[in-house]
């Protein structure tokens, strides 16, 4: 029997596993997390009296359905939590669980690795108290903790207002929600956003609720600095009217939309193409998620689409697996899923227009600001290295010379900023400076598993 392996137990991976299991196959579902759900549908750790219905709001039904379906599915699948995949070669996954190495062979691989926040550095962003926006939500759902008492939300994302509401509900003082994208971009994106009226309405409801609560909301802001000595004490920015503002806070949640976690897809052989709307390099797939022979991508790890799109694309990728294995799916709803997915992804393209990645600010990032927080490489060091190097401009060369992107996070955090800084300094379009290549191990593994580790 063909071995179908699914990576990631978020909405995409769980729906994919359900379709495969419904066919009578027993898929292996590998996940780095301790509990299923991925990031967005993360479950509280044991013992927390967290009211997830209240926290998830309009999405509570989907959250509960996914977890209930997973519980029912569990006897039919081989679920391996807490398992980190660090390499892929010859149809074999190289994993670590509890410090021990193992391999998993596959005939078909569905990669549903999700996404993380896209980050634009600014002065002070490495201070204790600055966290990713997704991380601030993850800590709330998983640990029942707030990242601070007086929290500012900064970036360009509809999730800023959602997270701010969740924080307020659980007792934080939300001192400001600062969106760098101007209001006119949102108006311009309305036709695309209207593709999914329900989600558009939900976003507007969040904003209205924050306004009612008199939370200070700012549009079109220019971030200047996060300030403090031992930790964050002030967020300084220019408001939409060009006035400088200083807001006292002890935490800043930072996020400019999401970027897919594509390292494993890359190791498995996926090709990449530059997407001008998202300004990201995205893996190339067909409409059902095929990215190569025996390779399928689903969820936000394939293309940012949100949780509903993840569920649809997970099911779609699994149906593609079954077809390619020569099986006739019990229920084949591909046409419906394709239409739904196309609509949801069109909406995300609208969001990418409404909440823009701040390219001009990145190209002007002051020289002294650290771009790479792993290796502490500043914007100035990147620019100086480019001035001295006479070879072709390519982010992988810049990485080799400066070590920016070479640290333990493998460029997950600094990669998008590095591309913009390098492109602006070279006077080239961002797609001309290439993309940071991933390599095994995609995350650090315990000493002794790799002999050359940190040699």
């Amino acid at each position: 029997m063909a071995e179908v392996v699914i990576v990631g137990a978020g909405p995409a991976g769980i729906r994919a596993a359900g379709v495969i299991a419904a066919q009578g196959l027993r898929p292996i579902l590998v996940d780095e997390g301790r509990q299923p759900g991925g990031q967005g549908y993360r479950r509280p750790s044991p013992g927390l009296s967290l009211d997830m219905d209240a926290l998830m709001g309009t999405e509570a039904g989907k959250y509960k359905a996914l977890h209930a379906d997973f519980a029912a599915l569990l006897p039919q699948i081989d679920y391996r939590s807490r398992t980190l995949i660090w390499g892929i070669e010859d149809r074999r996954l190289y994993c670590v669980r509890d410090g021990r190495q193992m391999t998993i062979a596959f005939d078909a691989l569905v990669v549903a690795t999700g996404a993380m926040d896209r980050i634009a550095p600014l002065p002070g962003w490495t201070l204790p108290g600055v966290f990713t926006l997704g991380g601030a939500q993850a800590v709330l759902k998983d640990q029942g903790c707030l990242v601070g008492r007086r929290v500012a939300f900064l970036g360009a994302s509809p999730l800023l207002s959602l997270a701010a509401l969740q924080y307020r509900k659980l007792g934080a003082e939300v001192v400001a929600v600062c969106d760098t994208s101007p209001f006119r971009d949102k108006i311009a994106a309305l036709p695309q956003l209207a593709a999914v009226p329900r989600t558009l309405a939900r976003g507007l409801a969040y904003l209205a609720a924050l306004k009612r609560a008199r939370v200070p909301l700012f549009d079109g802001v220019t971030p200047m600095a996060i300030e403090g000595e031992a930790g964050v004490t002030t967020l300084r920015f220019g408001d939409g009217q060009g006035r400088e503002r200083r807001i006292a806070c002890d935490a800043v949640a930072l996020g400019y939309g999401l970027k897919p976690e594509t390292q494993l897809a890359e190791l498995a052989g996926a090709r990449f193409a530059f997407d001008a709307r998202f300004r990201l390099w995205l893996p190339v797939t067909d409409e059902d998620g095929r990215a190569g022979e025996g390779l399928y991508l689903a969820g936000d790890g394939a293309a940012i689409g949100g949780a509903d799109a993840a569920e649809a694309s997970g099911a779609l990728a699994a149906l593609a697996v079954l077809h390619d294995l020569g099986l006739r799916p019990v229920i084949d709803e591909r046409p419906v899923l394709r239409r739904r997915l196309a609509r949801l992804r069109r909406f995300q393209r609208g969001l990418a227009r409404a909440f823009r990645w701040p390219v001009p600010a990145l190209s002007r990032l002051p020289d002294e600001v650290a771009v790479c927080r792993c290796e502490h490489v500043t914007a100035g060091e990147i620019r100086r290295a480019m001035d001295e190097d006479l070879g072709p401009v390519d982010v992988n060369r810049v990485k080799a010379i400066t070590r920016c992107g070479m640290g333990r996070c493998q460029g997950r955090v600094c990669g998008p900023a590095l591309q913009e800084i390098a492109a602006a300094h070279a006077g080239l379009p961002v797609e001309a400076v290439g993309r940071l290549r991933g390599q095994a191990p995609v995350k650090p593994v315990p000493l002794g598993i790799l002999e050359e580790e940190e040699a």
């Binding site: 993380m116 903790c145 934080a172 000595e229 930790g231 502490h376 315990p446």
Partner: protein
């Protein structure tokens, strides 16, 4: 709504704030040799940041850090066991008897 604190020295000494109670056993562990207490189910990051404003010292720039992505991607929350084992604080559950060190091993050797 406000729960106090002024940033640099958050009230009670912790950076994270428990927003809801947890019904769980108490877990005793140590941070840099000092006795500490957490709740079963806490990540190491939570266990440390509810009582301290910073998590650790960075290996290269010497600056203080408190983690960043909080979901296992950025690797900026490494702490160490007394035997030098590296632990990613945001994804490692606290366990009874853990002896956590918040400065990188090389730095400890350098300072004797």
């Amino acid at each position: 709504m406000a729960v106090g604190g002024d940033g640099a020295s958050p009230a009670g000494g912790g950076r994270f704030v428990r927003a809801v109670p947890r019904e769980a056993e108490r877990v005793r562990f140590t941070i840099d040799g000092k006795a500490a207490e957490a709740q079963a189910g806490d990540s190491l990051l939570t266990a440390i940041l509810v009582q301290r404003p910073v998590l650790r010292r960075h290996e290269f720039d010497g600056g203080e850090r408190a983690g960043f992505c909080l979901m296992g991607a950025c690797q900026d929350c490494w702490v160490w066991s007394e035997t030098g084992e590296r632990l990613r604080a945001c994804t490692t559950p606290v366990a009874a008897g853990m002896a956590i060190v918040t400065a990188p091993p090389a730095e400890r050797f350098a300072h004797g």
